[in-house]
Symmetry: C2
Subunit: 212 residues, 2 copies
């Protein structure tokens, strides 16, 4: 592919991401995207035959970033800042690719591979969260049984996946409505009371920053 | 309306609820419903002109039941069994009307009134959960700040709304996969560590029953 063709391809992806995030992928056509860029529908079609191909490519980019965040090492040295950073980076990706989460049911009901791949990511979030909590327990910073840790990890994964849909559904705004911040806060509130003294204060401090 | 017409109307609603729950409302046509009941499409059309009218009527029935559960009195005498019962009854309604929650984004994106009405219910869940938690605090059974109580109430409402979607998305089964039980357990895990000694043991006992 020529440098120029590659640049066009990247511009299509950028414009699509912006339009999808603003209007929801189901409401944006390939013609809308071509018009936004001032290119012909034929030129766009040369790069992506269907809107689904653009969605798939954007999802692949999201997944590569999420996978890098999920690869966080967890073990004896785990501390609460690791948990906070993990969630903060994840919610940033969710915000940047919010079209995936705002119309989640609709997107995955139309595309089995997207569904399986998204389920892998969500599974990975629950697994890494569980590893981090067990790491905190091993470091003596968290007190919880195995069932509690599993349920907390599920709760974190559910919050990452559905917080934006939940907020979009409800009418009244909340304090600190930045979607990253409020999502991280929401996920951390469930974890905080399982922490011991200092870790708990530290996490409370990190969480509270989002509400200011 | 004659007794016979009323019975047909009720049978249509029952069959629709069953088919919607099994296959998802977007995948069921009014012809499927007529066929299931062995009545003519014209007869069905006499009672409900569009599938959306059936969805709206089923939603109205769900809402009436949810509103009754949300009207739980909360005050000084609140105990943890009130919280448990509130969640148990709510999740039973979610299970019985699971088609509303499995394709939530898709259903509400097509129907603005349904969206507003569902948002009211979800708002009511968060409000009642918050009232119950403040009642527990007034009774000396729960220790949490106002922000924590708000976030816990949001977490409960999000779990009630999205637990089924979340579970449907993920591939691997969990222990105690009954949707009512696991949903209640999931919602209660976040609350338990804020409770004091005896209330915490009592809630742990109530929660654990779902995993047996």
């Amino acid at each position: 592919m020529s440098l120029r063709a590659r640049r066009t391809r990247d511009r299509i992806l950028e414009a699509s991401l912006r339009l999808f995030n603003e209007q929801g992928a189901p409401h944006v056509t390939t013609n809308d995207i071509a018009q936004e860029l001032g290119i012909s529908p034929g030129n766009l079609h040369y790069h992506f035959r269907h809107k689904g191909d653009i969605v798939a490519e954007l999802f692949a980019r999201f997944r590569a970033r999420a996978d890098a965040i999920l690869a966080v090492p967890a073990g004896r040295g785990t501390n609460v800042e690791d948990v906070w950073l993990f969630l903060h980076l994840l919610f940033e990706q969710v915000r940047d690719h919010r079209f995936l989460f705002r119309d989640l049911d609709e997107l995955v009901s139309r595309d089995r591979r997207l569904r399986a791949s998204l389920a892998d990511v969500v599974d990975g979030v629950a697994r890494t969260a569980g590893d981090l909590f067990r790491g905190l327990r091993a470091a003596g910073e968290l007190r919880a049984g195995d069932e509690e840790i599993d349920a907390l990890a599920q709760s974190v994964a559910m919050t990452v996946t559905y917080w934006l849909s939940y907020r979009a559904l409800r009418p009244s705004p909340l304090v600190g409505e930045d979607p990253v911040g409020r999502g991280v806060f929401q996920a951390l509130v469930a974890v905080a009371p399982f922490l011991r003294g200092e870790s708990r204060s530290l996490l409370a401090g990190l969480s509270r920053r989002y509400l200011e």
